[in-house]
Amino acid sequence: MDIAIFLIQVLNGVQYGFMLFLVASGLTLIFGVMGIINIAHGAFYMIGAYLAFWLTGVVGNFFLAIVLGIPLMVAIGYAIERLAITHLYHRDHLYQVLLTYGLILIFNETQKLLWGTGFHSVRVPAILAGSVPLTETLVYPHYRLFISVVCLAVAAGMYAVISRTKLGMMIRAGASNREMAQALGIDIGKVFAIVFSLGAALAGFSGMIGAPVSSVYPGMGDEILIVSFVVVVIGGIGSIKGAFVGAMLIGLADTFGRVLLPELAAMVVYSLMVMVLLWRPQGLFGRPA
C-alpha cells in the first residue's frame, strides 16, 4: 500500500471515528454519570437522521434543518428522561436494559409508521458538494471533511464544558459519587436530566450530520449502537477522553481491517476490544474497579 493510499485510509478511519465519537460520548456520559445502560442510544442516532431527512424536506435547507433539529433532540431526550429513565435510577441494570430495549422497539415502529420502510437520501448541501482530488482517480468529498471538522469542534466544546464550567464540575462530581454530590447540595436530578438530554442530542446530531453520507433507513441505529458500546468499553466508562481515543482506535481498526484482513474484517473491532480488556479491564481511561 503506497503512502498516498495509506493516508487516505487514515483519513477514512479518522472520519468514521469522529462520527462514532459523537454517539459514544453521549453513551459514556449517560453510563458514567447516571449509571444507566441506555440501549436506546442508537435509536437517538436514528431519530436524528430521520429528523434531518424530514426537516430538510420541510424547510428546504439542510443547515437550517440541523439548527431546528438540535433543540428537538434535546426536547426528546428530556421527555424520555422525565417519563421513563427517572424510574430506573435506583433499579438494577437489568430493568434499565429492558426498558431501553422497549424504547428501541417503540421508536423503530414509530419510525416505520411515519416514514415507511424505504431507504431515503439526504442531499449534501450545494456549498459542500465539491470534492478535493487526492489521487488521479480518487476524490474526497468536501462534506466528509466538514463532518470531521464539526466533530472536532464539538469534541473541543465538550471538553471545555466538562473541565472548565460549573456544570461540568457537577457532572464530574455526580459521576464520582452520586450520594456525596447530593449531600453537598447539588440537585442531582437536574444534572441527570441535563446529561441525558445532552447525550441524546449528541447522538441525534451525529445522525443528522451523518445522514447525507450514510443514507437514512430503518435499523440504522442498531448497527452503530453495538460499535458505540465497544468504544465506550474500550475507552473506559464515563470518560470523554476515553470515548475519543476509543472511537479513533475503532475507526482506524475497522477501516484498515476491511482492507488488509478482509476475511476477518467483521472480527477486527471485537478482537481489539478483547485485547484492550485483557490488558486493562476498566478500559483505557476508566477508573480501576
Binding site: I5, Y16, T117, G118, F119, T135, T137, V139, A266
Partner: protein
Amino acid sequence: MIKKQSLTTTRRRFLTGTAAATGLAVAGSALPTRFAIGAMAPIKIGILLPYSGTYAQLGNAITDALKLRIEQAEGKLGGRGVEYVAIDSEMSVPKAPTNTEKLIKKDEVDFLVGPVHSGIAAVMAKIVGGRETPIMIVPNAGSNEVTGELCAKNIFRTSFSNWQPAYPGGELMAKEGHKTAVTISWKYGAGIEMMGAGKDAFEKNGGKVVQEILIPFPQVEFQAHLAEIAALKPDAVFAFFSGGGATKFLQDYAAAGLKDNIPLYGPGFLTEGVTKAAGAAAEGIKTTLHYADTLDTDANRNFRAAYEKATGRSADVFAVQGYDTGSLLLQAAAAVNGDISATADVIKAMEAATFPDSPRGDWRMSKSHNPIMDIYLRQVVDGEQKLLGVAAKALEDPATGCKLI
C-alpha cells in the same frame, strides 16, 4: 358461605361452557369439508418476504404485483377465493426455520411464496423439499442451489438463478475491451454466486479479476473499499448490491470520483428500482438483467400502467417476478379447477406453464423449475432503464447437482 356458593356456580358454569364449546368444535371438524364446503374454502397463500430493512422495497414490490395479478383474475384462483398469510422475514436467516414451520404447520398454507434473501431460500428449500406439500414458489432469491442441489418436485422459481443475470454481465465487460477488473459485493449467497459467475465469464473471455472484495452483509460503509479500488486502478468494476445498499454504493462511487474514471458494471439489481433515489449517480451504467423498463411489448406496457395505478410506484424487476408468480398460481389452480389437493397434477401444470403476458417476454420453466428466459442489456438514461438489446437469448441455468434433470 355466599362466596363459596358463587364460586361453585361459576366453576360449574365455566365447565359446562367449555364442554359445550369443545363439543361444537369436535362436531364441526367432523363435518366433511372437502365436498360442499371445501370447494368454496379459500386457497391459502403463505408469504415470507422482507417488509423491513434494506430489502423492504423488494418485499413490497413482489407482494403488490402478486396481488395485482390475482385481482386482475377477479381475485379467484381456479374459482376459489384467496387468503394471504404474510410474515416479515426481516431478512433473518436464524428466524427462517421458525417462520417457515409456522406457515406450513400452523397456517397450513397451500402455496408458500418467498423469499428475497438467498440464505433464507436455502433454509426454506430444505424444509419444503422434504415434504409433499406445500408447493414453494421463489419470487426472487437467486441462490443457485434452490434449483440445483436442493431442487425438488414442489419447488419452483419465477425469478432467476444468481448465475443467470451475472454471467452475461461478465461477458459484456470483456466485450467492451476491459482487461482487468475488481469485483465487489456483499459476503452472502447471492453476492458470492453472482461475482463468481461474472468472474467466470470475464476470465473465459480474456479478462483478469485482480481483486475480489466481499463486504459483510448488510453493511453499507464503502469508503475504505473505494480507496482500495482506486489504488488498484482496474479497467472496470463489477458490483452487485440491491435495494438500499445499491443506492448508497452508487452515490458513494460517484462521490469518490470513480464513476467517471472506472466504468461500473453488474447484474441489473445494481440499478434496479434505485434510479430515482440515486439520481445522477446511476446515469449511464450498463447492466444485464432479465427485464428492462422500456421493453416494447403490450404485456409490459399494460403491466407497468396497471402497477403504477395500483401502487403509485414505478414497476421494477421485483414487481415483474411477483406478477409472474401470480400468473403461475392462476395456471396451477385453473388446471385442476381449484382442487389443489391433486398435487401431482398441479405440479405438471406448473411445469408446462407459459407466460404470454409476462412483462419480461414469454418464458418457460426448465426441468429444474427455473426460468429459461432472455437476458437484456440495459443502460440508465434519464432515470429510466433503457433497453439496448439482448445480452443472452433463452439463457438456461446449468442447474448443477439437480436430481430432476
